[in-house]
């Protein structure tokens, strides 16, 4: 719109310059022309009337129209699209909602959920709900204290030891992932707070940047959820594999028993 108006104004100025130049030339010719040149008063009046008409009708009318359009556009922008009062109201609303909900939600989120009473369970529970990846190093020993380490070679068959080891590893891995997830979740909450803070100070023109930022944050959150989902998939798969391995072992045990019975019966 601005460009169109600017171009129009340029054209108008050019036209005015041309009119002025025309008038100047006319004046010069009249001044130097001899009285017998034949240019009568009627002609002069006619030309001047024509110029007057052009200025009043063509140029003046169009200028009035432009003025009207400009006024309308300004009123539309300031009164309808971006009224300052409503912009301030929206910013105020952001602040109001933040003040009303943020703290109560954080308090709910921070409610303690631990309930173990004995020493070893309490330690493990405390570590796995700590939301601090700095505590990850202590999680595995606490897990072993509570659930015991993998039996030594002579205490269990290799198959069982392997299954115990992978089950424990996947359980510990998933618990560690939950700690990572809790911590990153808290950071994401802080980021949401900061984003909301930015929104309370934003202008309509800066809002698309913040909206895009929020979308990117959502994408990151989705990736974090996928990490958790992967851990859950591993756990469920291991559980299924574990149960299945027990069936295989039962079949193997039955075969061994059958062979032994066969040996006993086939002895003379």
């Amino acid at each position: 719109m601005k460009k169109i108006l600017h171009a129009f104004r340029e054209r108008l100025l050019k036209r005015c310059s041309r009119v002025a130049a025309g008038v100047l030339c006319l004046l010069l010719v009249l001044a130097i022309a001899p009285p017998g040149a034949g240019a009568g008063i009627a002609d002069i009046v006619s030309i001047l009337t024509s110029i007057y008409g052009t200025l009043r009708g063509d140029i003046g009318g169009v200028l009035n129209n432009i003025q009207g359009v400009n006024t309308n556009v300004r009123d539309l922008h300031q009164g309808m699209v971006w009224p300052v009062a409503l912009l301030n109201q929206a910013r105020g609303f952001v602040g109001q909602v933040t003040a009303q909900y943020r703290d109560p939600m954080w308090q709910i989120h921070s409610l303690a959920t631990s309930s173990a009473t004995l020493s070893n369970p309490s330690q493990l529970e405390s570590l796995m709900r700590s939301r601090q990846t700095g505590n990850l190093g202590g999680l595995e020993p606490a897990f072993q204290r509570l659930y015991q380490p993998v039996p030594v070679t002579w205490d269990a068959p290799a198959m069982e030891r392997n299954m115990i080891d992978i089950d424990d590893a996947l359980a510990v891995g998933a618990l560690k992932t939950t700690v990572v997830s809790d911590q990153s979740g808290n950071q994401m909450l802080s980021l949401a707070d900061a984003l909301e803070q930015q929104a309370s100070k934003a202008a309509p023109g800066s809002t698309p940047l913040l909206t895009a930022q929020a979308q990117i944050a959502s994408l990151e959150t989705q990736a974090f959820q996928q990490r958790m989902l992967a851990a859950e998939l591993r756990q469920e798969a291991a559980k299924l594999a574990h149960d299945n391995a027990l069936r295989k072992r039962s079949a193997e045990t039955a075969r061994n028993l059958r062979n032994q019975v066969h040996d006993v019966l086939s002895r003379p």
Partner: protein, 271 residues
């Protein structure tokens, strides 16, 4: 000397040249005893006409132009101060930089090693499962069989049991493969998000919606991947449930066989 200056000088020379040419022409045309028309009564007409035009230019052209200028100035101020204030735009860009830093910290958290298996076979499987490397998907079956063993031979178990075991192994492996895939996808999504964040720091309010649309598309894609992993999870649980049910069916079948065998033995005893 730039092009604009050259043009300006040329215009000045040009207008002076025209003026000089007109002056020379006038001098040549004027006869020695010419009587100027300014002494003529029609001069009054011209003067009146020109005064009218001058007034007209002032009222009809200059006044609306001034008004237009004022309106445009107001609009420009409004847009610069209320709609697109440079300060707010810069603040939003800076925030994108801060957010990127926080995302990178969060991503590093997910790089902390969580493996803890101690024996050889479990370590191999765990390494493959936590690799987040799609190239390792093919290796899952080998490591899985190495740890949990193959399906038992036909001599060792009835066919229905072998079918159940085979199905369960297949689903467990599929879930493990899907876990590797979804980890790899999550990595790529984080990389893409990082690049988008980088781009956002130099975006304009007019280009930000394009980035927003792209991020929206990525979010949609990520949701679809999550959905796919959720489907795999549901399949694992379905197989587990079916196995529990099959166990009851096998028990019922065994009981029926035992009952029949007992009946037959008892009937033989009666005879």
């Amino acid at each position: 000397m730039n092009r604009q200056t050259i043009t300006r000088i040329w215009n000045a020379l040009n207008s002076r040249f025209v003026f000089a040419a007109m002056l020379v022409t006038a001098i040549l045309l004027v006869p020695s005893k010419a009587i100027s028309q300014f002494a003529d009564p029609c001069c009054a007409v011209i003067t009146t006409g020109l005064n009218t035009i001058s007034g007209l230019l002032r009222n009809v052209v200059a006044t609306p132009l001034k008004s237009i200028q004022q309106i445009q100035q107001q609009s420009a101020n409004f847009e610069q101060q209320i709609i697109w204030p440079q300060n707010a735009i810069n603040q939003a860009r800076n925030f994108a930089g801060q957010a990127q830093g926080q995302f990178r910290q969060m991503n590093q958290l997910y790089q902390i090693p969580v493996a803890s298996a101690t024996l050889a076979a479990p370590q191999r499987l765990e390494h493959t499962l936590l690799s987040a490397n799609p190239q390792n998907v093919a290796q899952v079956s080998r490591d899985y069989t190495g740890l949990y063993g193959p399906v038992m031979s036909p001599q060792d178990a009835p066919q229905p049991v072998r079918d159940l075991v085979d199905m369960s192994d297949a689903e467990a492996q599929a879930a493990m493969k899907k876990a590797v895939e979804i980890d790899a996808l999550a990595d790529l999504e984080m990389q893409a998000a990082d690049k988008m964040n980088q781009q956002l720091q130099s975006a304009a309010p007019g280009s930000a919606p394009i980035l927003e649309a792209q991020t929206g598309a990525w979010l949609l894609r990520a949701n679809a991947y999550t959905q796919s992993a959720m489907a795999e999870l549901v399949r694992v649980r379905s197989v587990e449930l079916a196995n529990s049910s099959a166990q009851l069916k096998f028990s019922a079948s065994h009981a029926a066989n035992l009952r029949n065998a007992t009946d037959q033995m008892l009937q033989r005893g009666v005879k």
